[in-house]
C-alpha cells in the first residue's frame, strides 16, 4: 500500500516582517521571540502537532538561518519522523528554472513535489505570524463534512478594523459568495485568518493554472481564492472563536505579550491541554533576589533579577541589576539591564546591554511610542533613548 498522510501542512514563513523594524533585521518574522520562551512559529507548529498533523513544510526565504537552526530536526515539536515530520523548504535551483518565491501561492506551487510525496487528501496552508491556539483537526472535519474544495478560517473583527483584512461575505450556511481584499467599505466583519484547507487535487489544479497566468500576482488572497470562487468551486468559511493576534507590528507584538500576564490572562500559554512546544533554554531556574520587586510579569529560566520588574515579559537569561527598573516592557534572551538603568514601555531584542543609569523609553502614559532596541547592541551608561525611538546599533547618546 502506498504510504500517505491525510493532511499535510504548508507553513508560509518567508516574510520579512518589515514592520517589526530592528527586530527582523537579521531574522525572519516567525523566528521573533514571543512570550518569554517561545518564538512565533512555535504556535502554528504546536497547533499542528496537537491537531494530529505531523507533516509540515516550512517555506522560508527571508533571513532563514536562525529559523532553520531553531526548527532543526523538529524534535521539540515531536516532528522528527521517519515518514513526515517538519521540513524546511527554501527556494531552490531547479533544472529548468529557478526563482525566489514570488508570492504565497507561488511558494506553495514550487513545492508541489514535496506535498505530492505524501499523497495527501488535504493540504492545510498556514502563516507564521499569528499567535493563537487552534485545533486544525476540527477545521479539517468541517471541510470534509461540507464537502468543500476550500475552507477558510475566519474570525469576527471589529468592523472599524475590517478594512485591514481580507473579508469574507458568506451565506447563512457558511459558504462564501464573495471575497473582498482589504475593502474600503466592508460589508461584513468576518476576516480571513490566512488559514486554508484545500482538497489537494483542487489546490494542485489551481496552482498550476495560476502559475501559467502572467497577470496573476501569485497570491492566495488576491489571486487563487477569487479565481476558485469565480470558477464555481465550493468554498466555505470556518468560524474560529478565540484569541488570534497578528503580531506583525511593534504595538501588536507588545500587546500580545501583555495579554499573557495576569491571573486570568487573555491568552494562556500554560494550558496543559494544549501545550505550546518550543526549544528550551539550557538554564537553571530564575533567581529573584531579596533586593528585587517583581509584579505582574512573566519571567523565563536563567534570569537573575535584582531590580524592579513590573508588567513585563522577560525571556531566558536576562539580568536586571540592582536599582534597575523594567516596566511595561518585553526583554528578549540574554539582555542585561545594568545598575540604576530604567527601561519603560520598550521592546528590547536579544543580547543587549543597557548601561548603568541609562534611560530607555518613557512612562507609558506620556511616551511617544514604544522604544525598540535591536539585537546585541549596547546603550552607553547614563544616556537616554527617547520614547518611540528604534535603535539598531550601539547608542552613545545624541
Amino acid at each position: 500500500m502506498l504510504r500517505k498522510k491525510e493532511c499535510v501542512a504548508m507553513l508560509l514563513a518567508g516574510g520579512q516582517g518589515s514592520r517589526l523594524y530592528a527586530l527582523t533585521n537579521n531574522i525572519a518574522k516567525p523566528a521573533v521571540a514571543f512570550g518569554a520562551k517561545y518564538r512565533i512559529i512555535d504556535f502554528p507548529l504546536s497547533n499542528c502537532i496537537n491537531s494530529g498533523i505531523d507533516t509540515v513544510g516550512v517555506l522560508t526565504q527571508y533571513e532563514p538561518l536562525e529559523l532553520n537552526e531553531y526548527i532543526g530536526n523538529g524534535q521539540p515539536w515531536d516532528m522528527d519522523r521517519n515518514f513526515g515530520g517538519v521540513h524546511i523548504l527554501s527556494p531552490y535551483q531547479a533544472k529548468k528554472k529557478s526563482s525566489w518565491y514570488q508570492g504565497t501561492a507561488n511558494a506553495i506551487y514550487q513545492n508541489m513535489s514535496f506535498m505530492k510525496k505524501y499523497n495527501p487528501e488535504y493540504v492545510l496552508i498556514l502563516s507564521g505570524d499569528h499567535i493563537y491556539k487552534m485545533d486544525y483537526a476540527k477545521m479539517l472535519r468541517a471541510h470534509i463534512e461540507t464537502g468543500a474544495d476550500c475552507t477558510i478560517a475566519a474570525i469576527e473583527v471589529p468592523i472599524e478594523e475590517a478594512s485591514r483584512f481580507g473579508i469574507l461575505n458568506v451565506n447563512p450556511d457558511g459558504s462564501i459568495y464573495q471575497f473582498e481584499e482589504k475593502p474600503k467599505v466592508p460589508k461584513s466583519n468576518l476576516a480571513s485568518m490566512g488559514i486554508y484547507v484545500f482538497t489537494a487535487e483542487k489546490l494542485y489544479k489551481y496552482l498550476e493554472e495560476d502559475d501559467k497566468n502572467p497577470d496573476s500576482g501569485k497570491d492566495f488572497g488576491k489571486d487563487v481564492l477569487p479565481t476558485m470562487l469565480a470558477a464555481g468551486e465550493k468554498m466555505f468559511s470556518y468560524r474560529f472563536e478565540g484569541y488570534w493576534k497578528d503580531v506583525g507590528t511593534i504595538p501588536a507584538l507588545w500587546s500580545a505579550n501583555m495579554d499573557l500576564l495576569g491571573e486570568d490572562p487573555a491568552f494562556d500559554v500554560g494550558d496543559a491541554s494544549w501545550k505550546i512546544h518550543s526549544r528550551n533554554p539550557l538554564a537553571p531556574p530564575e533567581f529573584i533576589s531579596d533586593t528585587s520587586e517583581v509584579d505582574n510579569s512573566m519571567i523565563a529560566l536563567g534570569c537573575e533579577i535584582y531590580g524592579k520588574v513590573r508588567n513585563s515579559v522577560l525571556s531566558s537569561n536576562v539580568t536586571v541589576e540592582e536599582d534597575a527598573i523594567v516596566e511595561d516592557s518585553i526583554i528578549m534572551a540574554g539582555t542585561t539591564v545594568k545598575k540604576g538603568a530604567k527601561v519603560s514601555y520598550s521592546v528590547i531584542d536579544e543580547g543587549v546591554v543597557v548601561g548603568e543609569n541609562a534611560v530607555v523609553g518613557a512612562d507609558k502614559k506620556i511616551a511617544k511610542g514604544i522604544t525598540v532596541l535591536g539585537r546585541n547592541l549596547t546603550v552607553s551608561p547614563g544616556v537616554t533613548v527617547d520614547s518611540g525611538k528604534i535603535i539598531d546599533k550601539d547608542y552613545k547618546g545624541e
Binding site: G35, A36, K37, Q75, P76, L260, L261, G262, E263, V269, G270, K275, I276, H277, S278, N280, L282, A283, P284, P285, E286, F287, I288, S289, D290, S292, E293, V294, D295, N296, S297, M298, I299, A300, L301, G302, E304, V313, N317
Partner: protein, 371 residues
Amino acid sequence: MAHSAVGVIFTNIQDKNIPELSSLRTMASIPFAGRYRLIDFALSNLVNAGITTVGIVTRNNYQSLLDHLGSGKEWDLARKDGGIILLSPYSNETDAPYKNRLEALKGITGFLQRRKEDYVVLYDGDGVARLDIEDVVRFHEESHADFTLVYKEMDSVESHYYITLSADETGRINSLMINPRTDGKSKLNLYINVMVVSREFLINIIQDAVQSGYSSFGRDILSRNVESMRIFGYKFNGYYAGITSLPRYFKYSMEMLDKNVRDELFGARDIYTKVRDSAPSKYIDGAAVKNSLISDGCIIEGTVENSILFRGVKVGKGSVVRNSVLMQETVVGSSVQMDCVITDKNVVIRDRRHLAGCAELPYFVAKGKIL
C-alpha cells in the same frame, strides 16, 4: 583523552542515606535545584568530558529514572554507538538483584567487556558538583594509577557509609579508612564517590574478587590493597554537595540561593536535563518573591522567600512560603504558612494550613500527599 573512557552510574547504591526521597525513586533521580535530578550532574560532567557511553546501573524503583532519561537525547546520549545503556538488575549470572557494589560490578562485566574504551569512570549519582572528569582521567593516566579516587576536604560527614583517605604529595593514597570515627573538629578527606579505573584492570579485579568470595569493594579491594596497588587521590576543590540525608538535602538546596554557588554550577550553562515544555513562570499582582529560585510553569500569587520552587508549583493568595523546597506540581492554597518544609512531587497544601519544621529537621511531606 576522556573519549577513551566509559561512564558507569550507580543509581541506587546510596539510597539508604535518604529514605524519605528515595523510597519511591532512585537516589540518582532525586529532584534538585528547581529543575534537575541528581543524575543530571553526573551525566553532564561525563558528557562534557567527551564521554559518549554511559552505563546506568539500576536495582529497584527506577521507573522515574527511566522516565527522566528517555532516549538520552537531552544529554546528547541518544547514540548509535553507545549512548545511554541501561544495565538492569538481573544479569545472566545472578538470579537476584545485587546486594553490594561488587555484585553490581559483576552483573555488568559483560558490558565492560564489550566496550573498547581504556578507562571506566565509576560514578554514584548522589553528589552535586561541576567536576572536570577529563582532568581526572588525565591525572589517572599520568599517575599510572590503578584506581583514582576523587576526594574533597570536608568539615564533617553524615552518611551510612563513607571512605576517608590521606595521600602523599604525588597523590598516592597511603591510608584509606571506611566509616572511621570522626571528632568533628579536624578536616576530613572524604571520597566523593567518583573513581577512575582502567577497564581491563577492573574486569580482572572483579573476577578475582568473585573467586575469593569478597563482598565489599571498599574493604576488600581498596582498603586491603593500599600498599600493593597504585591507588591515587584526585583532590577536588570546587563546590560539592553530597546528598547524604534529608537535612543535608535541605542545607544544600538552600546553598543554591548563593550566587557564587550558582555561577560555579550553572554559569557555563552546561548542566543538561529533561525538558517538559512548561510555560514561563508567572508573577501575579500581589506576589512578593525574595531570594528564591523559581522554575518554569510556576504561578505565584503569594509571598515566597528563601525558597526553591520546582516546575509547575502554585502558591495561592495570602500564602507565605519561607525557607522551603517545593517539588514539581506542589499546589499551595491560599493563606497557607510554610517554613522549613520540603514537599515532594504533587503535594497539595490546603487553604489556611500552617506547616513548620526547622533547618536541622525540615518538615517533609511525601509524594502525592494532600494536607
